[in-house]
């Protein structure tokens, strides 16, 4: 499983949703131990990019090259809502051939011990996210694709996510994180998905900017999104 070092790269990637071209000519290459932070406004195409990288969606142009096992964390936990958390987690641990002690330590890391009897649908957003993180940790995948891993988490858990990413990259893993919140991972590269947005035809209203302009002129211009424009 840990045989060859992982790699993840995109070449001239373009994706669209419906009729709208979200981004084009997007290229990057990540090698073992690299972390990359993708920023972008809501609806800019972060999720679409992640799904294209995961091979769950075909990009309309370009290609994705992957080497290594893939783990995905998005807003959907994949845990059966009707089952107690412990049983729902056990299913994925079985799928990932994760032994019980290792699973226990995942619970421990994310503070899930007291929640194992609770049906998944009764968990709060943050608790579900932590469970999904534990599932990701247990998967022991080489490439992590994290879509908004910080949303819904409290500050302690947020810094834990940064820590998990640091450890993952320290072990030679690759992490690509789409988030509009900052992460504390040294050496992390970043790019903004807006940089790859196709130019709009003359006279078209820019959706993301348009909203900013329609505010009363008295309000100061909002600062650009965190970490934008690497």
């Amino acid at each position: 499983m840990q045989a060859s070092p992982p790699a993840l790269s995109a070449h001239d990637l373009a994706c669209r949703r419906g009729d709208r071209l979200l981004f084009r000519r997007l290229s990057f290459a990540l090698e073992a131990g690299a972390a990359c932070h993708v920023t972008g406004a809501n609806g800019a195409g972060k999720t679409t990019l992640i799904r294209a990288l995961a091979g769950l969606m075909t990009p309309c142009a370009g290609e994705v090259r992957r080497a290594g096992t893939l783990g995905l964390l998005d807003e959907r936990s994949g845990l059966d809502p009707d089952l107690p958390l412990g049983r729902a987690m056990r299913f994925w641990a079985d799928m990932d051939r994760l032994g019980f002690p290792a699973l226990e330590s995942c619970y421990d890391r994310l503070g899930l011990d007291s929640l194992l009897e609770v049906p998944v649908r009764y968990l709060s957003t943050g608790q579900k996210k932590r469970a999904a993180l534990a599932r990701l940790l247990g998967q022991r995948a080489q490439i992590w694709l994290l879509d908004e891993p910080l949303s819904g988490l409290d500050t302690a858990s947020q810094s834990l996510v940064s820590k998990l990413v640091r450890e993952h990259c320290g072990r030679g893993g690759i992490a690509l994180i789409a988030s509009h919140q900052p992460l504390d991972v040294p050496g992390m590269t970043s790019f903004a998905i807006e940089d790859y947005r196709p130019p709009l035809p003359e006279g078209w209203e820019d959706e993301a900017d348009g909203e900013r302009h329609t505010h009363a002129p008295s309000t100061p211009t909002q600062p650009p999104p965190q970490g934008g424009g690497a």
Partner: protein, 216 residues
């Protein structure tokens, strides 16, 4: 991995362990119970028409579990996670087909005994009916799975799947109930053949459908 998936799917869909999964069987028996009330207790009439009623009840019972069959797990991101672990959609859907059939085929066959008693179906007719349901329900399960996968991403999917299943299930109904009317088990061969073809196609059709559902 496939065994673990089958275990999970069965726990989801099997009567009494899954959430409200016993409903199709209860529905099936309820129809058989209502019928004598509606047409009267004439044993001859019941024996003559009862087999058809059982078949219709089976067909309608096959519609009930469709809503949860695929759409729920798409919303959950469940199939995405399986895909990342290298499991093809076709394999996922083949497992789901087995779990779906096991959760409503055999229970329906068992429920046919009380239903047959209510409808005065006995002896050879009962045998043909049981055999027919045994070979026909895999076909119904396969149609149901394909429809559930195809309509999973539609807003009115659940209502639509019922409407779609009925015409597609007609051949099974015609040959299955026809075997009963003419007391001729040979046409059960046709039911078996149709079922077999549907079962062979279903994992591929349903797999392609959930792949396509990801793209939008």
């Amino acid at each position: 991995m496939l065994v673990q998936l089958l275990r999970r799917d069965l726990a989801q869909f099997f009567p009494f362990t899954g959430s409200g999964a016993a409903l199709p069987v209860v529905f099936f028996v309820a129809v058989a119970m209502l019928f004598p009330f509606a047409v009267g207790p004439d044993a001859n009439l019941l024996a003559k028409t009862g087999g058809g009623v059982v078949w219709i009840a089976a067909l309608l019972a096959a519609i009930l579990p469709l809503e949860k069959l695929v759409a729920r797990d798409i919303d959950l991101g469940f199939f995405d996670q399986l895909k990342l672990r290298g499991m093809a959609e076709e394999a996922t859907m083949a497992v789901r087909l087995i779990a779906h059939w096991l959760s409503f085929g055999p229970p329906l066959v068992l429920a046919t005994f009380p239903a047959a008693a209510l409808l005065k179906i006995e002896g050879e007719s009962l045998q043909i009916l049981l055999l027919g349901l045994l070979v026909g329900t895999p076909g119904l399960a396969a149609i149901g799975l394909m429809i559930a996968a195809l309509t999973a991403s539609l807003r009115a999917g659940a209502a639509l799947s019922g409407l779609l299943l009925i015409p597609l299930a007609l051949p099974i109904l015609i040959f299955g109930a026809g075997a009963l009317a003419r007391s001729d088990p040979v046409s059960l061969g046709f039911v078996a053949a149709i079922s077999l073809a549907l079962v062979a196609i279903a994992p591929f059709a349903a797999g392609a459908a959930i792949r396509a559902a990801r793209e939008n």
